[in-house]
């Protein structure tokens, strides 16, 4: 009696994991967010979103414990910014990525798993540059 039930569960599990697999292979999915003062779109490819979520949001989100990092930048604010401010913020992100100054050394001593790999830095840089080009209309 229990056998068909388990078979059904396994079939469903395989079906959904296969869908996940196909979704990943289909290329980066984008979350589009409308900017506050323009019709331009701020898009986060899933891979970029993943890096930001795993390695940046711990300190740069509204509920972060560190006041300094919270005040310096919150990723969620990007989507509410006016275009001019968004450019300024992304330019700063670009500088930080170029300098390799984030996450800070002190944080990495405690949580070495937060270090950005070369591939992640490259993905973020590409995203920052393409977003800047889009917002600046260049």
């Amino acid at each position: 009696m229990k056998k068909p039930f388990f078979t059904l569960v396994i079939v469903f599990a395989l079906f959904f994991s296969a869908q996940d697999l196909f979704a990943q292979k289909a290329g980066p999915e984008k979350t589009k967010v409308v900017l506050a003062d323009s019709t331009q779109l701020l898009s986060y490819p899933m891979d970029v979103m993943g890096i930001i979520t795993n390695k940046c949001l711990g300190c740069h989100s509204p509920d972060a414990r560190n006041e300094k990092s919270r005040d310096a930048m919150q990723w969620i604010q990007l989507q509410r910014m006016e275009a001019a401010d968004l450019v300024a913020m992304l330019d700063e992100v670009s500088e930080v990525l170029e300098e390799g100054s984030m996450p800070p050394e002190k944080m990495l001593e405690k949580y070495p798993q937060l270090a950005l790999t070369d591939e992640e830095v490259s993905l973020l840089k590409t995203w920052v540059e393409s977003t800047l080009t889009e917002v600046l209309g260049e």
Binding site: E82, A83, A84, D85, V87, A88, M89, L90, D91, E92, L132, L136, E138
Partner: protein, 152 residues
């Protein structure tokens, strides 16, 4: 003995005047200056010049202690650093995104009362901006940023 010490100090001070870092250059004609390349009111221009230009432009006006080492060294370092961060005289050389970044920085340092530095205001009372004047500079920077974004 005291005479020798005083003499030694005087000689040391004299020697200091000829060594140390070189004075950051001053240039009065700056065709790419922000005040010449943007539509900025005389009032704002006056405020920004009084509060920022000694360290953030090529039009530095050196005070008397800017000619006496070692105090002048401290001053030179500040000016070099200030110009590196933002040089209003070189405005036209910045690309669009760097201009927007600079204008955002101006708004932030005004909002946070970070600039002008307290030490500078102590020696330059004309740089002591009121809250209204800071607000005027913030509004100017914000509006200018919109213009830069639209290529004006």
């Amino acid at each position: 003995m005291i005479k020798k010490i005083v003499l030694g100090l005087i000689v040391a001070m004299l020697v200091l005047q000829f060594v140390g870092p070189s004075r950051p250059t001053v240039r009065s004609e700056n065709p790419g200056d922000i005040m010449r390349t943007t539509e900025t009111s005389l009032e704002i221009s006056g405020l920004v010049r009084a509060a920022c230009y000694d360290c953030h432009s090529m039009e530095t006006k050196y005070p008397w202690y800017g000619y006496v080492a070692p105090a002048s060294w401290y001053l030179f370092e500040h000016i070099e650093h200030g110009r590196e961060e933002l040089n209003f005289s070189m405005w036209q050389e910045l690309d669009k995104r760097k201009k927007l970044k600079a204008l955002k920085d101006i708004q932030e340092v005004m909002e946070d009362n970070e600039m002008p530095l307290d030490a500078y205001v102590d020696m330059h009372p004309e740089a002591d901006l009121t809250d209204d004047q800071k607000e005027m500079i913030i509004t100017w920077a914000r509006e200018l940023a919109k213009g830069v974004l639209k290529n004006q």
